[in-house]
Symmetry: D3
Subunit: 161 residues, 6 copies
């Protein structure tokens, strides 16, 4: 059995919580494709390209992990690359309902796709891309919350020194 | 990569919701071991033996699924059989907190063990062994909620027709 | 259209929160049957008879409310008395999941039965029969939480005064 | 007793989950008024008129259901049409808190108005107007999630074929 | 021991629920600083100045309560004024997760800062600045939900009379 | 202002999560009384005396912390020792509802008593006395979850080594 899993997200930017989850899933599945959503509605802080670059740098030592980007329906992308698992991190109650709704809808759109939920390390339980951007924008320290490379880029965006 | 997953539970008795989850996980992992907890504190309706028998009958057509039983710490059993994944079904908010607590504690007891949460089909979202036993005890119909074999055995326990 | 609703519970004993909900539902439905569960497993503080008496006294001024008792499956009782609605109070997250599970299972057992959830007054949001009994047992005041009659009976049980 | 119930919402557009709930409530109450909110702040995909038309077509076989539209406070509309019940669907934890807040506030604004919560069929538990629009916008199939008529109109909006 | 606590918020405008919490915390801590967030992203209904004025009027009889405003990171403000406690009201499940996330992040940003959660009176459990503004905008009565002074100012904004 | 806080619980046995919360509250309040509930209904693993001894050893370096035991209503004990604050740890959704119910009831029983909720360190978010006892009973390691002294006593109870 060869199981390809997809870990979708905006990754605007990738955090250490995301990386923790990528590492954990890479130990369980034969291949993990980190899939950057090229969302056109919301205005991301980083471009698709930048978000993919930061991810690629962060996962370069993980042999069975690759980075891709997609637009449109997630299940269409999954069918295209012949994956069978969607990986989602769960941390908390407010995510939970939305995550279940998406998992059930994705199962309806493609019955062969399964969503599995995994827990990031407790140290990252309060971490989100949104929160990291807010703290960086207000000049707070984000060391230890994101990879060094991402920290520098955020500093560039918000003129931190 | 060969990934062995464990799906632990009391299975007193196995329901169609459990079977749905076993089928789903058998499509994702190389081997799935359904592990019956020989709990000594609570008094189960069916013996360890009976619970394992009902499971074995229910999964006999799934090539990569086996049934085992264990006592003691789940992580010790997992280490012993060289598995790396614990599978848990999630349905609802009240489970959720307890499930997270167990997953974090199991990770602490054995850092190489990962818990993944999966969703049963919606039709089984309200199903539990406890509820099935209550309905059977009051003479209600449980057809479609458990395998036929289990239905008969429950009928025997509660003297239904 | 004539709609008969059932408000089931243990009512061990009835609280002002229950009465608030009975009054609210009596304004919406043609007839409300308060149905005392004669549960044989748990040992209630008050007998079926006592629980029904306290309820009857509490609702005697509500013309379209009656008190009954039942054993066995709730949906069988509902079918027997030709009711179509189950009324349940909701207050909080921990109830909520259980309530949904029961509502879905009852719908499965009898497709013509609908469960509606209603909110008690905020002043009763923390009130439960269990909590009232605990406070009374420890000698605390329960005035305003239960009808006067119930307060006296609880006093008798716990030798208050 | 004659009980008029109001089922308020944006219905942008109506889904099969809404219709399921309308059918269920029409079996419990003498009259059900489906009330389309003419919200001026958010920009809906369909106009008030279109949303009401789709609803009217969907409920035309239900004798005791009518469609209306309203602006301003819901409780003012309810007082005006002499209704006494607000019907709300509940599916999940994230809705739940908001729903309770609104129900308590509406009770404060008009003490004679009661909110009752009802469960849609499980098959619709993950369904929302927002999700339907997102899937349609990305070219996914929404067959079985909305009435045929609505499916065509969404196709027109998003140029699906 | 002298404990200075901070109660941060947008207070756009202050409600009776906020005031209830300020009064409760003023009985526990030596000094309570109500800290108005000068948020630049969202457009508030009232200016910083107005929001602070309404608060000052509302707390003028509480000897150990002062009003201040801040921009930037909350923990920086707290360090600057040598406070050690953040006070947050909790009412409900949807707040709860966000509140925990913020509390853990603030603890990470400044290990000497502790967040304590307190409950407003039940009568205010459904109250929020956002809801008050919505009701006022639609011409509903907000008497008893906000101080008189705030009621007048909201009337001015929305031309109520 | 002198604020005496009470941290009530069964402490059967005290865990490092409890100690973390005691240390945090000792930094906020003038005096913290850790109050061991002498519950007569449930059978604790350790006697009142043992539970108090383990606590006393654990807090002996905290100058403003004392250990006491109580039976009966918590609010009566609080009134007796002239405290004004109840401290409770919150970790998760399933606790949360129960905690709110108790806090509101305690406020009703004594209007001068305020409950504040505090967060233990994330590392202890999955820790409970019950879980510690279960792991110890099954022969798992509890090092780092409880004080050394407690670990030895648990070993004695369960014949570990």
């Amino acid at each position: 059995m060869f199981t390809r899993a997809v870990y979708p997200g905006s990754f605007d930017p990738v955090t250490n919580g995301h990386i923790d989850l990528i590492e954990r899933s890479a130990r369980l599945f034969d291949e993990v494709v980190v899939a950057v959503l090229r969302n056109t509605e919301k205005t991301p802080l980083f471009t698709d390209q930048e978000r993919a670059e930061m991810l690629e740098r962060a996962v370069r030592d993980l042999k069975n992990v690759t980075v891709a980007s997609f637009a449109g329906l997630l299940v269409d992308f999954i069918t295209e690359i012949e994956a069978s698992v969607i990986i989602r991190g769960i941390r908390a109650i407010s995510d939970y309902e939305y995550e279940l709704q998406m998992a059930l809808m994705n199962r309806r759109l493609s019955s062969s796709v399964e969503t599995v939920f995994m827990l990031p390390a407790e140290a990252y339980s309060y971490l989100s891309s949104k929160l990291v951007k807010e703290i960086a924008a207000l000049g707070g320290s984000i060391t230890g919350l994101v990879p060094e490379d991402v920290e520098k880029r955020l500093g560039g965006k918000f003129r931190i020194n």
